[in-house]
């Protein structure tokens, strides 16, 4: 078990209400709200796959998909 690596953020724009909870509590400032007040990953390279955005979203609008890296880096 190595560090998980981000594959993608799946964001359901219809369910996102722009409350900003995920944006504020992301430890790496990966997320932002766009001009329509919907969340998007503007610095996805900084994502550490902690999935706190996914766990705190009141509307289940964001999912963090990660791939597990092995200890050998394969």
């Amino acid at each position: 078990m190595g560090k998980p690596k981000l594959k993608e953020h799946i964001i359901n724009r219809e369910w996102c209400k722009g409350c900003g909870i995920c944006v504020h509590f992301c430890p790496k400032n990966v997320l932002e709200l766009d001009e329509e007040e919907k969340v998007f990953a503007h610095q996805k390279e900084n994502c550490i796959c902690c999935r706190l955005c996914e766990f705190r979203c009141p509307d289940l609008a964001i999912e963090v998909v990660c791939e597990e890296k092995t200890a050998r880096g394969k």
Binding site: G20, F55, P58, L60
Partner: protein
């Protein structure tokens, strides 16, 4: 709350057919419409009464009753204390946002002294309940408190509450930025979650000793006492003795 509940259920590996969610009336009670379990959306304050009926007739099912603070403790106050006293195997989740949000921001039994609400424009003079103390005094055999900020703890506590055989109460401090937040200048949803982070602490922590104002989080009671459906079955057997 829904998010943590679903993760708890996923971790337990329960099938959708093994779960019955019974709710009453309120913003929080709409939750039964968002899930694909057996669901009953019932009348204000009476979710626990309906759930008691379901549980007694089908004791093998897992009963989850999500309620708001007003639904659980004002309109349904008597159902709440007596379900706790009987120790029937139901998981009661009290989403405490300290206000009646759906109906327009009236003060609830959890609003607390000195707060503002549409029906308390000069501040509320009612004292609030302590849900944890009330539940323990009423006889609930599993009592816990957490917040919508502490999502990992919430999923863990809900999982334990569902596993517990007896009446479980989980109080979850929940934000209502629309009414409670706006009326009481508590800010938006983010600010309210920040306040749960700064104003709460684990049970018996050093921080609590230094600052008694902090609200404690964690499991306050967990005891094994006779469960109502089991006891009821014993009575049926006793009464049927000699009859087929």
């Amino acid at each position: 709350m829904l998010n943590s509940l679903l993760r708890a259920i996923e971790k337990l590996g329960l099938s959708k057919n093994e779960i019955v969610m019974v709710s009453g009336i309120g913003c929080s009670s709409r939750i039964s419409g968002y899930v694909d379990f057996h669901t009953l959306h019932t009348i204000h304050g009476r979710a626990l009464a309906f759930a008691t009926g379901v549980k007694l007739s089908r004791p093998e099912l897992n009963l989850i009753v999500p309620m708001g603070d007003g639904d659980a403790l004002a309109i349904g106050g008597n159902h709440f204390i007596h379900a706790a006293r009987r120790n029937i195997d139901i998981t009661a989740i009290v989403m405490n946002n300290r206000i009646y949000g759906m109906t327009g921001g009236q003060y609830s039994p959890l609003s607390g002294y000195g707060t503002l609400a549409t029906t308390a424009p000069y501040t509320n003079i009612d004292q609030d309940f302590d849900v944890v103390e009330l539940s323990i005094a009423s006889g609930a055999s599993f009592v816990a408190r957490t917040t919508t900020y502490h999502v990992q703890q919430m999923a863990d506590i809900i999982r334990k509450a569902i596993l517990h055989k007896g009446f479980s109460v989980v109080e979850i401090l929940s934000q209502c930025p629309t009414y409670f937040g706006r009326k009481n200048k508590a800010g938006n949803a983010v600010d309210m979650l920040e306040s749960y982070k700064t104003n709460t602490t684990s049970i018996g922590s050093k921080a609590k000793k230094e600052n008694p104002e902090l609200i404690e989080r964690g499991i306050f009671a967990q005891k094994e006492i006779p469960e109502y459906c089991n006891e009821y079955n014993k009575i049926i057997k006793k009464a049927m003795k000699g009859h087929s």
